[in-house]
Symmetry: none
Subunit: 310 residues, 4 copies
């Protein structure tokens, strides 16, 4: 699928569709404005209607891909309307639609950020005492909210097929934080890394066209790694002398796995470089514990997660 | 189409899929490498082969979406391979594929940049003398080269449907320059603005999934505007006292058309702000010509272009 | 009126009200949420409802000034709830309310910006030809839209009495542009400066608690001044040799008036400094016209405005 | 209450109003100075007289809202005085009044800053030895001075109702420091967080229209947090091995409470981000003490404050 702006400007994109059965459907039947408005939560509908007060929308116009002017042009002699103005009118509509789409994205992202804050505040309690199932249960309850919000985001983006990366910057930072929290929760529960597929599963993205970008996932994992030295220090303080060993094993494997990657993304590379310091700090804590004879000699690390292991 | 990284991971997931019916489907039939190589122009095939010398590709592997591990895994028990390492191996392949794709893009973009430089050097001559058809003819000859290069780029990108905007930053700056040159040439010839559709036509993008981003087009037009004050000054110096009036009319219309747009893109907005100074400078030149009684009183601006008018 | 955050945290502010009749009214009867939602356009209502899905609002809670916790506290023993958490819960609600208010402001400001763009694009045409009544009529039609939008903004702000300057930064830049356009229109029509009171009248702010900040007005006037040299150049080019004299007189008076002010506001001072260059440029144009014997000797400047004078 | 600059201009506009029926109304009945001045506390009247030594004020002129010109004008024909000059004369007076108000604020803020420096210098001694009641007693004595100064500031601001946030930037930085010191003192004495209401109580702001901005309070609390790692290090050095545990508990609760807030204020968010490092540092000190078996096993943290606990 080519970028959606093409659709707007060139109604010939319709005829490019290789599937002939689609040509007999009313144009843009899947993405027409009415469908959009009814499938969206009330907030969006209203927002859309406000936008309409400034510019009437033809019923078959999709959010960011169709211009009524192009339609009209087919019936009017092209020479009657200066092409410069006509083109900029199309652009104006498209840029406005793109702006409206960004507002929709922004609204959902603000809700994601808000939910993330609740999960974070809750998870921070693991630094004070050992994580309890109730604490994780509370956090998990919010994951359902996140799932709904990512579904909302996927719906918004589904209006503009092929433009995931056009608007990616608008949700990537929040998504990285979401991954870090999900991964920390998962690690507390199972002692293992939350996989990309598992993160998508938790966020309900596995059946969707809207996926979790791999680099966002990796940055989120780096953020989780940053939390581990502090966790180890606090667990040792609380008397869990076996924690450093377990964390060290996990972090070493994780670091080695990252090492395999050819990271060209500057931000991800920088975050990964920070993981080295996390690893070093955990090693030092393990050393402190060992040299004082505080560590247990057990080496068995089961599947029951961190909280049940100590 | 969902982002292609999904393909990579999901192709893996497919083989991990407990549902055996999916395994009987021909794997990756739409994106297999053979199709890719046969559909490419000779030059590209060679490039591809070069890329292969770095990392052998299995015949059924697509450029940025397939991992051989997934294939092997279908026959091996999933528990025999730690999921952490397995996932990072998939990532490694994907990031490497993405890196290779970027190299392909980069190679084409360097050729575009090189061709653009030739056109630019040629077009600069209009500042010294009146533009002649030969001068434009030379520049136009290079446009054919550009067209081939954009076709190459489109082919490279066609491997990764829905990821136009993922790699967009890799060619956008050069494309903006290309647009500015094409638009300047077009204006010299016709006295009118090169439309977005005409720019796509010139670059052979009108039948392709790979389009010209509107903001890139608009930035290119701003760049062209930056060239006009200098052109006007030099034309007046060369004795063409009617040039300021014609350029002023063109630039005023263009500026007014831009004014209607809600520019949220910071770079584009900044470039547009610069157009105001171009306009002012041309107005000042027109003022100088007028106040000295040098301007002709003719008001007819035909369709025969700038070069034929003076 | 004290800052509204006081109301939220201290229900004692109610008892501070010197007007005893107000104490017998149901608390916050003027600013309760139901009133707010019914007096607002649909967009806001929906937005508010979305916010509610995260946090139930008590019926008597105002947008940014009341916390249900404070209420509950009156009935519950204060020692039963840790004061730290309680306080931060109040803050959380207040900061969220403040955020919602900012969203409301932002939505209106975006509409103001959009309307301003239309007026600007229309007014730019005066640089091409002499201003015609139709052109001004078109622009004036949009002023009605602006008036409605400022009324909307005033309604939003009326929810938070005494906090005009808390959120002032959220609309000040757009308002400065609005003033510059209104003042330019007014000058084109009457040849005189749009007064502060007239600007408020045009924006429907004269009967409202929500006024036009003087410094915003002054910055807007500076922006209008920046437009005048260009106007003069274009008018002379078009053959109106009397325009420089009239503009010069206007600008000289304006500059002299500004000179009287003790400007401590850095931005305003900088903008005013720019006015000196506008003045100088207009003087130069007037000089060019005079020295060539193009200026008329007429010195009468009537009340009929610029467009009717030449 | 509308911004006070409105009063100034609108009182003027009233007398400028060509509608003679308005002129027969008692002028300025709602905003006249006599009513205003009798409602002021005695201190302010004195302060007012001091201000007058700089610039004689007509008896009916308020600090930032009234121009004597308006009065005189009521008796003169409006056409005899050009509106442009008249308006700027009003502005001149208003900007001058605003400047004088800022000078008043500045004078008080400098005294606040001076008193704060004394308290700070005194409190710094807690890093060298254990805090003694005498040390806190000395600091508390200065709090009375601060209270008087904030009362002065409140009186100055009471002249301009609804403009708290217009001048807020003039005292916010100093107030943040004041809060940090008060909170540190309070914590040393009680081991608990100084609440917003308690801070206002200490500064005598609880019965005033002039309150303590919540974000200023929160920034002040962040500043206090920055002091704690140093305090802990010095206390452990001095042999108080139980201090880290107590501080850690306090800081963890504080950090978790902050986590719930949706911080849009960039400065506050940045300061809060710094709190994480304070927390981490205190955790590290606690870890050092624990791993060496130096920490006491006591877990009781009473209400008697930090100084009495060790």
């Amino acid at each position: 699928m080519r970028p959606a702006f093409r659709n707007a400007y060139f109604n010939l994109s319709r005829s490019l569709n290789p599937n002939p059965t689609k040509l007999s459907l009313p144009p843009f039947s899947l993405h027409t404005f009415p469908t959009f408005s009814t499938s969206l939560p009330p907030t969006f509908r209203t927002f859309r209607l406000t936008a309409e007060t400034f510019r009437p929308l033809s019923p078959s116009r999709t959010c960011c891909s169709y211009s009524p002017m192009a339609e009209g042009e087919a019936h009017a002699p092209p020479t009657s309307f200066p092409s410069l103005e006509k083109q900029f009118e199309v652009f104006r509509v498209q840029l406005e639609d793109s702006g409206i789409l960004r507002e929709h994205i922004r609204a959902v992202v603000m809700e994601i950020e808000s939910t993330t804050r609740l999960i974070h505040a809750n998870l921070l309690l693991v630094h004070q005492s050992r994580p309890t199932p109730e604490l994780l249960e509370k956090a998990k309850a919010q994951v359902g909210v996140l799932k709904d919000l990512y579904n909302k985001l996927a719906v918004v983006l589904s209006e503009c097929p092929g433009q995931y990366y056009r608007y990616h910057g608008d949700w990537r930072s929040e998504t990285q934080t979401v991954v870090s929290l999900l991964a920390f929760m998962h690690w507390l529960e199972t002692g293992t890394l939350l996989l990309h597929s598992e993160a998508e599963e938790m966020l309900g993205l596995n059946n969707s066209e809207f996926g979790l970008d791999i680099e966002d996932y990796l940055v989120g994992i780096c953020f989780m790694s940053n939390e581990l030295p502090r966790y180890v220090v606090n667990q040792v303080t609380a008397g869990d002398y076996d924690c450093p060993r377990k964390v060290l094993k996990f972090l070493t494997d994780l670091h080695a796995a990252f090492r395999m990657l050819n990271l060209r993304n500057d931000f991800l590379r920088k975050k990964f470089d920070g993981m080295k310091y996390d690893l070093r700090r955990v090693e030092e804590v393990y050393y402190d514990v060992k040299i004082r004879g505080l560590a247990t000699t057990s080496d068995a690390i089961g599947e029951q997660g961190i909280e049940g292991q100590s």
